[in-house]
């Protein structure tokens, strides 16, 4: 019987020829990504047990991202514990403030994520890294402690769902719209415990950056992982960043999937997910033009350079509406610098946006743009749960960076195609 990419990676990492859905395997971990919120408790657990050494410091990447630059004294303590621990352990893959970035963005950007790897991180959006043909899954702090100590972790081999992307995206529609569409169809638990695998000619047409947005949100459908076969696009991305060797796994033709879906990209339109679930996606034509107090462009979902370029294209020559605040948060320092060199930061500043350094920040209601009671925010982030970005009485709407930029300019939820057409005409 054929196997999926996920089954092949888990089999290869647990010393097996094959694995079956539902069985528990102990898999070797190739990369552990550690950040400031979930790592300090894991380190504390290990110290309590008298385990003073990680299994292999070269297989760990550390970056503070959630509450940095330190948002308060307690967060400063967490970042300090992370910094001291990585020094004591001799972990060299460390990205201090000034080189830092949101972990799921910086790990692949800096060439640490390769096809065929197993990657874990104490963060649910670890699924992002699956876009490179990697098994990447979010875990808690106890799991993290176990992986740091032993280099292995238990996994229940998941069933896989197959999503075939057909055709190409229409003008003004982006990969964020694809994943919001998929989640609106299957629900926030539609992929519970399962791997969401992608294939199709529509996938080949997507850049690596666009792909990360799709696998990033696997967890918003309850998925254990999101995974895409490593094709020429993925290989070009990896080879530009790493000289390490890797293994590409592809699903067999007779691999077994628990469900299959086909999505015609040509039929998609910009989507907005209404509060309070990521599954509340509606085509923008069906969404009321509600007034937004804030627009947020950033996060591990949509804070990459292509996202900023699209937003800048729309902001150029326009102003953020009176009564609306716009916040742009590049996902990594490298993206911030590229945006600076390309003149994007100036466009944002001229339009009246605030541009922050990389941080998870307000995506999870940390800082740098949290919402007050009754406030509404259209955001390029991944979750619009109650209280996610601040007050439990605030409301979050999820959309693409293009929809976010257009909304910032009018102050009400706006179809980005209105602005993209005039931007294209101006450029012509």
């Amino acid at each position: 019987m054929g196997m999926t990419i996920t089954e092949k990676i888990l089999a290869a990492h647990s010393g097996r020829d094959s694995v079956a859905n539902g069985e528990i395997v102990n898999a070797k971990i190739d990369l552990i990504v550690a950040h400031d919120v979930t790592t300090p408790p894991a380190v504390q657990m290990l110290k309590k047990l008298g385990i003073n050494k990680v299994f292999d410091p070269t297989k760990i990447l550390v970056t503070p991202d959630h509450f940095v630059p330190n948002k308060d004294i307690k967060s400063a303590e967490l970042a300090k514990q992370l910094r001291e621990w990585r020094e004591e352990q001799g972990i060299t893959r460390y990205y201090e403030i000034g080189n830092h970035g949101i972990c799921h963005a910086i790990a692949p950007e800096q060439g640490h994520v390769l096809p065929g790897m197993t990657v874990v991180c104490g963060d649910s959006h670890t699924t992002t890294m699956g876009a490179l043909g990697t098994f990447a899954s979010g875990i808690g702090s106890t799991d993290l402690a176990a992986a740091l100590a032993t280099g292995e972790l238990w996994f229940k081999v998941p069933e896989s769902m197959l999503f075939e992307l057909k055709g190409s995206l229409p003008f003004g529609v982006y990969s964020k719209d694809i994943i919001l569409y998929i989640i609106s169809k299957i629900g926030v638990d539609g992929a519970r415990y399962r791997a969401m695998e992608y294939c199709g000619d529509g996938l080949k047409n997507l850049t690596m950056e666009a792909r990360f947005t799709i696998t990033n949100m696997a967890i918003e459908a309850g998925g254990k992982s999101g995974i895409m076969p490593a094709d020429e696009v993925a290989e070009a991305y990896v080879k530009a960043r790493s000289s390490e060797s890797y293994t590409i796994y592809n699903s067999d033709d007779d691999a077994v999937y628990s469900e299959r879906f086909a999505i015609n990209l040509d039929e998609l339109e910009p989507i907005v997910a209404l509060p309070d679930l990521p599954s509340n996606g509606r085509f923008i034509g069906e969404v009321a033009r509600e007034k937004m107090d804030q627009v947020y462009i950033g996060s591990c979902t949509n804070g990459r350079i292509e996202d900023l370029r699209i937003a800048a294209q729309i902001f150029k020559g326009n102003k953020v509406a009176a009564g609306t605040r716009a916040i742009v948060v590049p996902a990594t320092t490298e993206i911030w610098k590229t945006a600076m060199r390309e003149g994007l930061l100036e466009i944002f500043a001229d339009a009246g946006c605030v541009v922050s350094t990389a941080t998870c920040g307000a995506c999870l209601g940390g800082f740098m743009g949290v919402l007050g009671a009754e406030e509404k925010c259209l955001s390029t982030t991944n979750r619009n749960f109650v209280g996610r970005m601040g007050s439990p009485k605030s409301k979050v709407y999820l959309a693409s960076p293009a929809t976010a930029a257009a909304t910032a300019i009018t102050g009400t939820i706006t179809d980005p195609r209105e602005f993209l057409k005039s931007a294209a005409a101006k450029a012509a």
């Binding site: 919120v37 408790p41 649910s124 808690g140 799991d143 209601g365 749960f385």
Partner: protein, 172 residues
């Protein structure tokens, strides 16, 4: 294997809604600490501000589908345990929450009918050996999905880290 407890008794806090997420169980604004007692002060804050005032040691949370979805923060398990919750009984769980629960040796029971037989304030008993949830207030009962052998082993060992240590010792 040792015998499973048959008499976990506590008062129910019932939340019927599906998809209660970890942002609601412990909002991220409190993630700058990870001490259980500190987290416990804010348990369930964004879904029910009265929870921490009412909860007593040994109580049981009963919830709907996909409990604990969203963020992987283990702080959600710690906040509930710190508040005194002994067991969560849900229709179903999001995978990371379930993983975090059993990794902590914390009981997360799957019981599709729990919400139909209990309301907030009822006294319930969980009998792990029989796989039954009994409502002492109204006399009703429901069966639950038995824990997998692996989950049971982790819970009996007190969580993943003691489990790994035990295995390492027996291998040595």
């Amino acid at each position: 294997m040792p015998e499973l407890p048959t008499n976990l008794k506590g008062f129910a806090h019932v939340y019927e809604r599906a998809h209660i997420n970890t942002d609601e169980i412990i909002p991220a604004r409190y993630l700058n600490v990870h001490e259980e007692a500190e987290l416990a002060r804010h348990a369930m804050e964004d879904i029910d501000t009265t929870f921490v005032k009412r909860v007593q040691p040994g109580d049981v949370v009963i919830a709907g589908d996909n409990f604990g979805c969203g963020s992987s923060r283990e702080h959600a398990v710690w906040a509930l345990r710190g508040a005194g919750i002994k067991v969560v009984v849900a229709k179903s769980y999001a995978r990371i929450f379930f993983r975090n629960a059993i990794n902590n040796g914390f009981l997360a029971i799957e019981c599709p009918e729990a919400m139909e037989i209990a309301k907030t304030g009822d006294e319930v008993v969980i009998d792990l050996a029989a796989g039954r949830l009994r409502n002492l207030t109204n006399g009703k009962e429901a069966g639950f999905v038995p824990l997998s052998d692996f989950a049971r082993e982790l819970i009996e060992d007190g969580g993943l880290l003691p489990h790994i240590q035990k295995k390492a010792k027996s291998a040595a």
